[in-house]
Symmetry: D2
Subunit: 167 residues, 4 copies
């Protein structure tokens, strides 16, 4: 099984990336195979056909499980994450990928955003999103129980989705 | 496996109910075990504790696969369907249920509604919604290929979700 | 100017109704002309053509300013409120009405719901919704500053919309 | 009165820009004062503090009326548009700006996106969005009546909002 973490934070090496990695580890028991810190792809994201961007898209498309993570900007996911998602083929770009939407925010007010806003983009790309979207508080996600609670609640559903896509 | 169809149309015996039944048959190869035409539950829906409403909730909660169907009223699902959904326990009311959101409309303009509006309510109730929401045109769903296309695309994902919940 | 408060809580005389009334008073400096506690309309809401429901719809349609209020059920507005909104004509039912979406919840997690979920229904009915949707915590709205903050921020915008519709 | 058009299409000189300009002209009777074709701002969009991006933000913030336009990518607005919107201050970045959300798509299926997805971002930035979101078909917007219908329906509301913000 191949697991990838995608973090769409304009700051490299962000808490977004860290939280997404922790979630992937909690779901699979292993370090993710690939970390894609979208901002590192640079200006090639602004057009089409950049080789590095293409390679990142292929890594994601070829993964079994992908955590898509974003900080909350303007009550929704970031432009940088969407810029990357715009590179995938509509309907099929995430086919056979089990995707987990994750967002982080400074406070709880935007907790609906992963489910209402980020997940539908992933579904439009053809991903299977069997679990509820997860929202974390960026100052407490390393100490609170939200990641564990989510994993306890949804990991069986996610794992079964993975086995299915693999078969 | 127990399959249930829930139709939230203020008119009994609606095309909504028919389309949802067709979708259930296309997904499972069998007639659904239960049809719940919500309007038939009557005024007990306006409060809590009605025995007939309670029985319908239990039927749905105890099902493996449920198609939740609504016509499009005011660009979203109906009040009558939401009234029924309000009877379920938040977080757990649809736990271990694989749910398929279905909406019908007169034209294509509201095609995003099942994914953006109906699915999140089902997820809030704890349902597993592994497939994209489906939108049908109410005048052509018996002759167009939308139900079949959806089943071809998503039935494997839905079936695997069912096996998982059953295990 | 005619102001109406609509509360869609299955419990009569709810905090929803109280909070909506307080918001209307804070916006206008006067008690609202009409209070519509939707649950009081009874089983006529489940069909079409009930005289009492019709009168309530006409009261709302003929108002200049309407606060539409709902508790948060399953991460969105209630079925009882939507049942009432389904009685209005699409596109024109709230034409020339300035509408303010208000939701209350036990905690902050659903704060996006008035803007993302309730406001679009009002706009679909033709209402002018110039202000952001407001979300209140049901246990603290009488003591916190959220209503006042909202009024300070948005009342000028709402009042100008009212003058415009009146002209 | 200062009018600005913002187009978030990765292709410069797009139909998105053209349609947004036509809408601005139809609303005001004049050519817009500023056209911001976001892609032209280049890689400075990927970070903070770029002078050209800053100037574009200031132009928009200082405008009375702004049409925010995007093609539909993955059933919502583009990453390039969101990247630009992420440059504004939350809550106040579009204060006193009357904003009109506009999206174009190849077909009608995503017609709910301007209202459900683009408008909430503008409201989060503090914009006044008194009119419904507009969705155009990219192959027919120069010949169909959608722009005119929208202007006939909503221009009085938008103009009154403008007068109010100016006062």
């Amino acid at each position: 099984m191949r697991t990838t973490v995608v973090a769409g934070n304009p700051k490299p090496g962000s808490r977004t990336l860290d939280a997404a990695t922790r979630l992937a580890v909690a779901l699979t028991g292993e370090q993710p195979d690939h970390l894609i810190d979208v901002i590192g792809l640079g200006p090639g994201l602004l057009g089409w056909g950049d080789a590095q961007v293409r390679a990142a898209v292929d890594t994601v498309s070829g993964s079994d499980l992908v955590v898509f993570a974003s900080p909350t900007f303007k009550a929704t996911y970031t432009g940088i994450l969407k810029l990357f998602l715009d590179q995938f083929a509509t309907g099929d770009g995430l086919r056979d990928v089990t995707a987990v939407p994750l967002m982080l925010g400074a406070g709880p007010a935007h907790a609906l955003a992963p489910e209402l806003l980020l997940k539908p983009v992933l579904v439009e790309l053809g991903a299977t999103c069997p679990a509820a979207g997860l929202y974390l508080i960026d100052s407490t996600y390393t100490t609170d129980t939200r990641i564990l609670d989510h994993v306890e609640r949804w990991a069986p559903t996610i794992r079964s989705s993975l086995r299915s896509e693999a078969s």
